[in-house]
Amino acid sequence: MTAYLLKRLAIALITLVLASMVVFAVLEIIPGDPARLMLGMNASADQVELLRNQMGLNAPVALRYLHWAGGLLSLDFGRSYTYSVPVIDLVRERIVVSLPLALIALALSTIIAIPVGLFSAGRHGRAGDTIAMGAAQLGVAVPNFWFALMLIYLFAVWLRLVPAGGFPGWSAGVWPALKSLVLPAIALALPQAAILARVTRSALIEVLNEDYIRTARAKGLPYRAVLWRHALRNAMIPVLTILGLQFAFLLAGTIIIENVFYLPGLGRLMFQAITQRDLIVVESVVMLLVAAVIAVNLLVDLSYAVVDPRLRSRQ
C-alpha cells in the first residue's frame, strides 16, 4: 500500500515537472514580445531593450525556466505585464470563483450521473434505459455554451430565479454568491454527467454479468440490493478513471462558461491574458490548472486503492 502511494506520488511529481517545461517552452516559442507590448508600438528599440533587461527576458532560457519554476514553488508567480500587480493577487481574487464553480460542477455531474447509470443498467435494453441514454446522447452532443444560453433564457430572463451573469463576491453573502454560480455549474456539469452516466451504465452492465452477482442473487438479495451493494463498487474503477480525465475538460469548460456568465474567474482571467499577450499570467494560470488536474488524478489513483482491495495488497 505504502509502495503504491509513493509510486503514484512520484509519477505525479514527474508529470508536473515535465508539464511545467512544456508550458514554459510553448510560451517561449509563441511570437510576440511582451516588453514591446507593454510599451506600445511607438517605443524606441532602446526603451524596449531596457525593459527586456529589467524583466529578465534577455537571460538564458534555462536560467529563466529555473527562476520561473523556483518562483512557482514559493507562490511567487511574477508580475502581470498588463495589470502591473503580482500574478498571485490576481489568481487569489479569481480562484475563489473558479474553484467553487469547478467543485460544484464536479459534484453535480457525479450526483446526476451515478443514479442515471444505475437506473439505466437496472433496466438494460428496456424503455427507461433507452430514454435515459437518448437524453445522455443529447447531453454529450449539445455544446455547453449554447446550453448555458438556454439556461440563462429560462431561469434568469423568463423565470427570474437567478441572475443572468456576474458575481457579487463572497462578501455579499454566501447565498447570493452561490445563486450566481448555480447556472454556470449546471451548464458545466450536464455534458460531463451525460458522459459519466454512459460510462457508469456500461461498467455496471459488464459487472452484472459477473459470477459473483449470481452468487449474491442466490443469497436471496433482491435485484436492486445486488445492484447497489455488489455491482456499484465493482463498477467504480472505470467511473473514477473517467471522472479524473473529465476534470481537465471541466477546467477547460470554465474558460467558455465564465465568459458566457461574466464570472470573474480564472478562466476569464486566462482568456483576457491571452488576448493581451500577458504571458506571465497565462503561464501561471496554465500551471495552476495543470497542477489541479494532476492532483485530481493522483486522488483518483488513491481512490482505486480504497475501492479495490487487490490494489492494496499488490506491490
Binding site: A3, D211, T215, R217, A218, L221, P309, Q315
Partner: protein, 554 residues
C-alpha cells in the same frame, strides 16, 4: 414426501427449446445426481429451481419445493427462499465471490438479510460457518478478501454462503470441476457431511459420472433437455440399459488404442544396450536442474523478501515419439515448468536442451528453429482463438517460424492438410471459430499445433474443458497423431485417467519438485511417493465407485 418435485418441466429461451418434460425429485437427506454433457440443460434446470433464469426464458410444467409452486411464486417469495431454504454452489470458485468485499461480509450478508440479525450476531454465525467448512479463524479471519484465498478455499467460502442458514435443499452445479482431484475429494467430503448433518437434500450437477456415482444414491441423465434415464445410481450404471447411458459410461472410461512401442529410456536399459541404434538416439528434450524463482510478496518497503520457488531443481528428459504426463495438484509448478520448456519463460538456474541444443537464454531469433519443432495446445478451446479471424489464418499462425515463408497457395494447402489430419474438413478453413463446437475447436488448436510438423507438443490440460464423449475422441486423435507423425507429448494434467489413457511415462510433481517418475501404469497402480498416493486415492474412478455402491446395497 419429496422436498423438490419437478414434473413435466419444459423451457424455451426465445424460440429455442431448452428443456422438454423434465422429471426429477429430491427427498430430504438425499443426494440426487444430475448428469449430462454441456448444453444438456443441467444448469438451466438448477436455475429454474432458483428462478434465476435469463429474462427471455419461458417455463411450463410444475416445480414444487416444500409445497411451494416455484414457477408461480412472486419475486419476493423467491428472494425469501433463495439463500435461506435453497442454497446454491457454482462451478467457478475463482469468480464466484465479490472481489471488493471481505469473506466475512459475504457470508454474513445472507444471514443478516434473512434473519434481520445484528451485524455482530451475523458475523458470529458467519465465523462458525467458516469454521465448519474448514476455514479456521486463525488463518482465515473474516477480514480476508477473496483474492487472498486459493480456489479450493474460495469454494469453501461459497459453500459457507450457501449453507449458512442450513437450507433444506442445496444445489451444487459442477462444484468441483475447476479444482484438482485432491481438493475435489475434500469438497465432496464436506458436502456429504453437510447433507448428513442437516438432512439437507442435495442436487449435485456434474458431467463426471465417477463423481456422481460416489456421491449420489439416485441419478438422472439428461441429454438435449430430455431425461434419458433415471433411477438408482449403481443399477443404472452397471446395467447400462439405455444406449446413451452406455455411451456416457464407456466414454468416461475410454482408453485410446495405442501400440506401446515407445517405452525406451530409463525403464529398459537392457534393451537400449541391445540395440545400438537406440543407444545413439539422443533425448529430444533434456531438462537439467531447472529452478524458477518468483519474487515474493513484499510486506514492508525495507525488508527483503524471500523469493517463491515455483520449480525446484527439476531434471528429466523426453525421447522422440515418447508421450509423457506431468501430473500434479494445482499450484505445484507444472505450468511454470511447461512455460520454460516452451521457452516462454527463462529458468532462474539450470539448462534446457531441445534436440541437443541449449535453448535457455537464447534470443527470439535464435529460438526460431526450436519453436518450429515445438508447439502447444491449451486447455480452453474458447479462449485460445481470436474470434475475428478465420480458421485459415488461425491455424496458419505458427507458419511464420518456417525458414521460407510459404506462398498463399502453399499456406492454404498446408492448412487443408492439417485440418484433414485432425478430422476436420478443408472447407472449414473459411469459417470463424464461433461456428465450431468445443470439441471441434480443440481439433483446431491441435491442427494449429501440428502444422509445422513439430517433434514435441506440450498440451496443457487439453481435454479438461471437454465433455466425456468429445474427450474420448480428442484423446484418440492425440494417440493417432503420436503414431502417425511420431510427435512426442508432454501432457500437463491433474486428471489421472487422461494420463493413463495417453501416456507411456508419468512424472508426479509436488511443491516444485518431481517426486516420482516411471511407467504410467506402474506409477498409477503402485504409487510410491506421498504426493502420488494422495492423487491416486483422490481420483474418482467409475469402476470402483459402482462396485462400492453395489457392495453397500448388497
Amino acid at each position: 414426501m419429496s422436498l423438490l418435485e419437478i414434473e413435466k418441466l419444459s423451457l424455451t429461451i426465445g424460440d429455442t427449446p431448452i428443456l422438454r418434460d423434465v422429471e426429477l425429485s429430491v427427498a430430504p437427506g438425499e443426494v440426487m445426481g444430475l448428469v449430462g454433457e454441456s448444453g444438456s440443460g443441467k444448469s438451466i434446470t438448477a436455475l429454474t429451481v432458483m428462478r434465476l433464469l435469463p429474462w427471455a426464458a419461458r417455463a411450463s410444467g410444475r416445480v414444487a419445493f416444500d409445497g411451494i409452486d416455484i414457477l408461480a411464486a412472486s419475486e419476493d417469495q423467491m428472494c425469501a427462499l433463495r439463500g435461506d431454504d435453497i442454497g446454491m454452489v457454482f462451478q467457478e470458485p475463482m469468480t464466484a465471490l465479490n472481489p471488493v468485499k471481505t469473506i466475512g461480509e459475504q457470508v454474513a450478508e445472507g444471514i443478516r438479510w434473512h434473519t434481520r440479525a445484528s451485524r455482530a450476531d451475523a458475523e458470529d454465525r458467519a465465523r462458525k460457518m467458516l469454521d465448519r467448512v474448514g476455514l479456521p479463524s486463525a488463518q482465515f479471519p473474516l477480514s480476508r478478501y477473496p483474492h487472498e484465498l486459493s480456489g479450493g478455499q474460495r469454494q469453501r467460502v461459497v459453500i459457507a454462503i450457501a449453507c449458512a442458514l442450513k437450507p433444506k435443499l442445496l444445489i451444487a452445479d459442477e462444484p468441483t470441476t475447476a479444482l484438482d482431484v485432491v481438493l475435489q475429494a475434500q469438497i465432496l467430503d464436506l458436502l456429504r457431511d453437510l447433507v448428513a448433518e442437516n438432512r439437507m437434500g442435495l442436487l449435485l450437477i456434474s458431467h463426471d459420472l465417477a463423481v456422481v456415482t460416489e456421491m449420489a444414491g439416485r441419478i438422472t441423465i439428461l441429454r438435449h433437455g430430455e431425461v434419458m434415464e433415471a433411477g438408482d445410481t449403481a443399477r443404472t450404471l452397471s446395467e447400462q440399459l439405455h444406449p446413451y447411458t452406455r455411451q456416457l459410461a464407456q466414454a468416461s472410461m475410454h482408453v485410446p488404442a495405442r501400440a506401446r512401442t515407445h517405452e525406451v529410456g530409463q525403464d529398459h536399459p537392457q534393451r537400449q544396450a541391445a540395440n545400438p541404434l537406440l543407444q545413439v538416439a539422443k533425448p529430444l528434450l533434456q531438462v537439467d536442474s531447472v529452478t524458477r524463482d518468483y519474487p515474493g510478496r513484499r510486506k514492508s518497503l525495507l525488508k527483503r523478501v524471500a523469493p517463491i520457488r515455483a520449480v525446484d531443481d527439476v531434471s528429466f528428459s523426453i525421447d522422440p515419439r515418447q508421450s509423457v504426463a506431468l501430473v500434479g495438484r494445482s499450484g505445484c509448478g507444472k505450468s511454470t515448468l511447461a512455460r520454460m520448456v516452451l521457452a516462454l519463460d527463462g529458468p532462474t538456474s539450470g539448462t534446457i536442451r531441445f534436440r541437443g541444443e541449449v535453448i535457455t537464454g537464447n534470443s527470439e531469433a535464435e529460438l526460431k528453429p526450436a519453436r518450429r519443432d515445438m508447439q502447444v495446445v491449451f486447455q480452453d478451446p474458447y479462449g485460445s482463438f481470436d474470434p475475428r479471424q478465420k480458421v485459415e489464418k488461425l491455424v496458419a499462425e505458427p507458419l511464420h517460424v518456417l525458414e521460407k515463408r510459404p506462398t498463399t497457395a502453399e499456406r492454404r494447402e498446408m492448412v487443408a492438410k492439417a485440418l484433414h489430419e485432425v478430422g476436420l474438413s478443408p472447407r472449414d478453413m473459411d469459417k470463424y471459430p464461433h461456428e465450431f463446437s468445443g470439441g471441434q475447436r480443440q481439433r483446431l488448436s491441435i491442427a494449429r499445433a501440428i502444422i509445422t510438423r513439430p517433434k514435441l507438443v506440450v498440451a496443457d490440460e487439453p481435454v479438461s474443458a471437454l465433455d466425456v464423449s468429445i474427450r474420448a475422441q480428442i484423446l484418440d486423435l492425440f494417440a493417432e497423431l503420436n503414431q502417425k507423425l511420431g510427435v512426442a507429448y508432454l501432457f500437463i494434467t491433474h486428471d489421472l485417467t487422461v494420463a493413463r489413457a495417453i501416456t507411456d511415462q508419468v512424472m508426479i510433481m509436488h511443491d516444485g519438485k518431481i517426486v516420482e517418475r516411471g511407467r504410467t501404469s506402474a506409477v498409477l497402480d503402485h504409487p510410491q511417493s506421498e504426493a502420488a498416493k494422495a492423487l491416486v486415492a483422490a481420483a474418482p474412478d467409475l469402476h470402483r465407485a459402482i462396485a462400492r455402491r453395489l457392495q453397500e446395497q448388497g
